[in-house]
């Protein structure tokens, strides 16, 4: 037998009638006035004699008890208590519970979700286990997870089921069933897999149970759902006003059967006022792109950005998507040079979207440099360079950013360059003459960006998370500054740095994926916190930190304190068309290995309401009989024997 369920919990509100019922018993009532010789004996009779108080003491009278029983029975009858019958066959049972995002879909109009139904069904399965049989519980989210090993204790199994929560991820039911089959394969006796899912599967491949009898039970009902299935944020310029703005691209899709009149609203994280909003009519099955723009303030740049869909529908997880307010178009560039005049500074000054900071090489360690800045160092190669992307021009002989800088080469002839590299895009080095340069030992086939025969004049020294370029000659020792390609080169460096800055150390991720966060070199540990994830410390190595999969959509903040303080905000979104499509899809089970499969809805309930109502009627009938029966006064002598005996003893 399954656990007792209340199909209509609001029926229990009838129990509120117990209060008035008891009140009726303690409230004073209008009485017939009778003149008697003396009230002395009545006064001493300890019954209903509280003349000055609004209430009398509650006495457990039979009619009151009967009426409470009848009312309670009626309340429980209205709440429709029911149980599901049947016993699960099998010595070893694997209970696979789908915890993908679609399981968070609301059921009916109440607060319960499909996962709540699945958990209730899983508990019923636990209760229905045959004596002596054991079970495992497996969670089917992005990855399959064994919640509890083989367990006979129903209490532990139910506790394991209870701790399951829907995640904002695409589910992989097939992997979970495969894990269940793998766990059961080596066990003797009869085996069975019970799958509890809503049928809204992201992967349509048949579920392979490797010959183990599989019982798929579906939960949930048909619901209307609309979702944000994609969100992109970038910085742009208003073509009319020529002012810088944030441009947000949102793709809406309806998975319902009726047209939806929706509002898409942009809100900066931590603020309540929306920055942009748009009303959209979405037809059933239609995809509608929406572009929203706003002009962010300086304080908003880098902050979280929420695109919200309203009114909310059955699945809340896909009604909001997260992004990051892009940084401004003006790119911070720091130029550290030993010489007072710099051709590079001249080229950068010509770009209106560049904010140039000029310092000496020695000031690199002391001046506050923007962590997203492009840093250009001329004539030196410091060990620790702040900022993000870095360019070293004319380094001294020795080791620089992992590249060996060689001796001076006189009159090197430029022979080739990497046209596919973003730094050398759209430019030609034909006709550029270099009077003297230092040879660079480039790493790998693509490490050499500019070559003069066998000598590398420009090399890529990038490390994961940081772009680095080494130019082996002083541009003043060449005629390159006199050519347009030099200006283009400078622009390409800035544009690449701008792209890297827009990514903010990590691009937006999909929930369920691990977060790959680029951090400055030298950072050994970061702290991460986000929705449903308490702050935890993660090791970083080689300019990267890998944060475990984000189970919830939202904004994850990664921060570090050494060698310099910094942080990055990473949006994680569900944005899955398959998961947002909460309509039930056909489930196929690969029965090629034998064993058989059954796909069914949960067994019908056996309701107790009629029996409870009958019980209430019988109790009420008994109450009526009791109240209308003729009261016979007890024999005076027998009743007073106790008091008399005391009086006589006293005498």
């Amino acid at each position: 037998m399954g656990a007792l369920e209340l199909l209509n919990k609001p029926g229990l509100w009838l129990l509120a009638g117990l209060g008035p019922l008891v009140l009726l018993y303690i409230l004073k009532i209008k009485r017939e006035r009778v003149r008697v010789p003396s009230t002395w004996l009545w006064q001493a009779a300890k019954r209903d004699l509280m003349a000055k108080h609004p209430f009398k003491r509650l006495i457990a009278e039979l009619p009151l008890i009967l009426q409470i029983l009848a009312l309670a029975a009626l309340a429980f009858a209205l709440s429709r208590p029911a149980m599901r019958g049947g016993r699960v066959q099998g010595d070893h049972v694997a209970i696979v519970v789908d915890t993908s995002a679609s399981m968070g879909t609301r059921v009916g109009e109440g607060p319960g979700t499909r996962l709540d139904d699945a958990k209730a069904a899983a508990k019923e399965v636990v209760l229905a286990l045959a004596p002596g049989s054991d079970a495992i519980v497996i969670e089917a989210a992005r990855d399959a997870r064994l919640v509890t090993p083989l367990e006979r204790d129903g209490k532990h199994l139910r506790a394991a089921v209870e701790q399951l929560a829907a995640q904002d991820v695409e589910g992989d039911l097939g992997a979970a069933v495969a894990l269940a089959a793998d766990r059961l394969r080596g066990l003797g006796g009869t085996r069975r897999i019970v799958v509890l899912t809503d049928g809204a599967l992201a992967r349509s491949a048949p579920i392979a149970a490797a010959g183990i009898p599989t019982d798929v039970r579906t939960v949930g009902d048909a619901q209307e759902n609309a979702a944000i299935v994609r969100m992109d944020v970038r910085s742009g310029v208003d073509p009319t006003t020529k002012r810088e703005q944030a441009q947000v691209f949102v793709m809406l899709e309806s998975f319902g059967t009726k047209p939806r009149d929706l509002f898409v609203t942009l809100v900066v994280d931590g603020k309540t006022d929306p920055v942009a909003s748009r009303r959209v009519l979405v037809k059933p099955g239609e995809k509608v792109p929406v572009v929203l723009t706003f002009e962010p303030s300086a304080m908003d740049r880098g902050a979280g950005l929420l695109a919200q869909l309203s009114p909310k529908d059955a699945l809340a997880a896909d009604d909001v998507a997260y992004g990051r307010v892009p940084a401004g178009q003006r790119m911070p560039v720091t130029l550290a040079s030993r010489a007072p005049y710099s051709w590079m500074a001249r080229a950068l000054d010509a770009d209106p979207q560049v904010s140039l900071q000029r310092i000496t090489v020695d000031q690199l360690a002391t001046v506050n440099v923007d962590p997203d800045a492009l840093v250009i160092v001329e004539g030196a190669c410091p060990a620790d360079v702040p900022g993000h992307d870095v360019v070293v021009v004319s380094p001294p002989e020795g080791r620089c950013l992992g590249i060996d800088v060689g001796a001076v080469v006189e009159q090197p002839q430029v022979t080739s360059w990497e046209v596919g590299d973003p730094r050398l895009r759209f430019l030609t080095m034909d006709g550029v003459h270099v009077s003297r340069a230092r040879g660079l030992a480039a790493q790998g086939a693509t490490g050499a960006l500019l070559r003069a025969g066998k000598t590398t004049l420009m090399a890529d020294a990038s490390i994961p998370g940081r772009s680095a370029t080494i130019l082996g000659f002083d541009v003043g020792d060449s005629d390159w500054p006199l050519k347009a390609s030099f200006v283009l080169f400078a622009r390409n460096l800035v544009e690449q740095a701008r792209v890297h800055r827009a990514q903010g150390g990590a691009a937006p991720v999909t929930t369920g994926d691990p977060l790959r966060v680029a951090v400055p070199a030298g950072v050994t540990a970061v702290k991460v916190e986000g929705p449903g994830m308490p702050e935890r410390e993660i090791a970083a190595k080689g300019g990267f930190a890998i944060v475990p999969a984000a189970p919830r959509a939202g904004l994850y903040r990664v921060r570090w304190t050494a060698p310099r303080v910094g942080s990055v905000l990473i949006p994680a979104n569900l944005t899955s068309e398959k998961e947002s499509d909460v309509r039930a899809k056909p489930i196929t089970v690969d029965a090629s290995g034998g064993g058989g499969a059954a796909i069914r809805a949960p067994e019908p309930h056996r309701e107790w309401a009629p029996w409870l109502a009958l019980f209430a009627a019988l109790v009420l009938a008994l109450d009526v009989w009791w109240l209308t029966r003729r009261v016979k006064a007890p024999s005076p002598v027998k009743v007073g024997a106790k008091i008399g005996a005391k009086a006589e003893a006293k005498a």
Binding site: R33, R35, V36, P37, W42, A633, P634, G640, I643, G644
Partner: protein, 290 residues
């Protein structure tokens, strides 16, 4: 005679009156032998002569034989004052006939038997104190007066039996028989007052008269009882539990009166207002304790 004593009832009383035991002596000359020394013909004892003794009481023969002057003493012959204390409070005005009517009839019966035995009879009305006191009368010829005294009693006011009995004791220098007719629905210390009466030499008799409504309450449902004496209202829901509680309290009172009677060696008669008076008088004459 009157409505209180019909001829048939009188004939029965005449037969019963010789069985009436009057244990108290009031000290006056009468037909009952007293415990004290007195002037009757019944020898009591000898005692030594002391100066001032009446020489006429000297037993000269004994003096001749013994040489010691001794006196012969004799018992006194005393009468008995029968005091009929009738509770005439408002609570006695209940039932058909009323409890007061029943009390008057019983008091008349006792009064008749006393007068027929040449005793003195006095009617006293009790309420919140001693409300009326009539003169004592003696002999059968005084019967009409006693009956008139009784018939003048009307129910009114509250009850304080203890105060009433104490008032009787203060006004009665000679003890006698003290018969109290009441419903005893009184929370006061009447038992202590009865004890003081006994200590003063009175022969106490307790006659409790209750109405049928008090013995077997005919009420049902939600009732507000109003006290006939005080006007106090007590609200009661009359179900089996309430009736049981009332009956328990009533029997507590009955057993308490029975205990008082046993302690004082007094008869205790409990009568209903509709009970035949002759049966009650028979139990009283036999000094029964109901």
């Amino acid at each position: 005679m009157t409505a209180l004593l019909e001829p048939a009832f009188l004939r029965e009383l005449e037969a019963l009156r010789r069985r009436l035991q009057l244990r108290a002596r009031s000290g006056g000359g009468g037909e009952h032998v007293g415990k004290r020394r007195g002037g009757s013909a019944e020898f009591l004892e000898h005692r030594a002569y002391t100066a001032g003794d009446d020489l006429r009481r000297m037993d000269w023969l004994a003096f001749a034989r013994t040489g010691e002057p001794v006196l012969k003493t004799f018992r006194t012959e005393e009468d008995v004052v029968v005091r009929l204390v009738v509770d005439a409070s408002a609570s006695l005005d209940a039932g058909t006939p009323t409890k007061l009517d029943a009390a008057k009839r019983l008091a008349a019966a006792v009064g008749y038997m006393a007068l027929a035995g040449s005793e003195r009879t006095q009617v006293l009305a009790a309420g919140e104190g001693l409300t009326r006191t009539f003169d004592a009368a003696r002999g059968k010829a005084a019967l009409p007066k006693v009956l008139r005294d009784l018939e003048t009693l009307q129910p009114r006011g509250g009850t304080d039996l203890a105060r009433s009995i104490d008032a009787v004791l203060q006004r009665a220098p000679r003890p006698g028989m003290l018969v109290v007719f009441s419903d005893f629905l009184d929370a006061g210390p009447f038992d202590q007052a009865l004890g003081r009466a006994k200590a003063a030499g009175h022969d106490v008799a307790i006659v409790q008269i209750l109405s049928e409504e008090e013995l077997h309450p005919p009420y049902d449902g939600d009732v507000a009882f109003e006290d006939a004496e005080t006007g106090a209202v007590v609200e009661v829901t009359l179900d089996a539990a309430a009736l049981a509680a009332y009956t328990e309290r009533l029997n507590g009172l009955i057993y308490a009166l029975r205990a008082v009677a046993k302690r004082l060696g007094a008869p205790y008669i409990r009568a209903s207002n509709v009970e035949p008076s002759l049966a009650v008088v028979r139990r009283l004459v036999s000094r029964a304790v109901d």
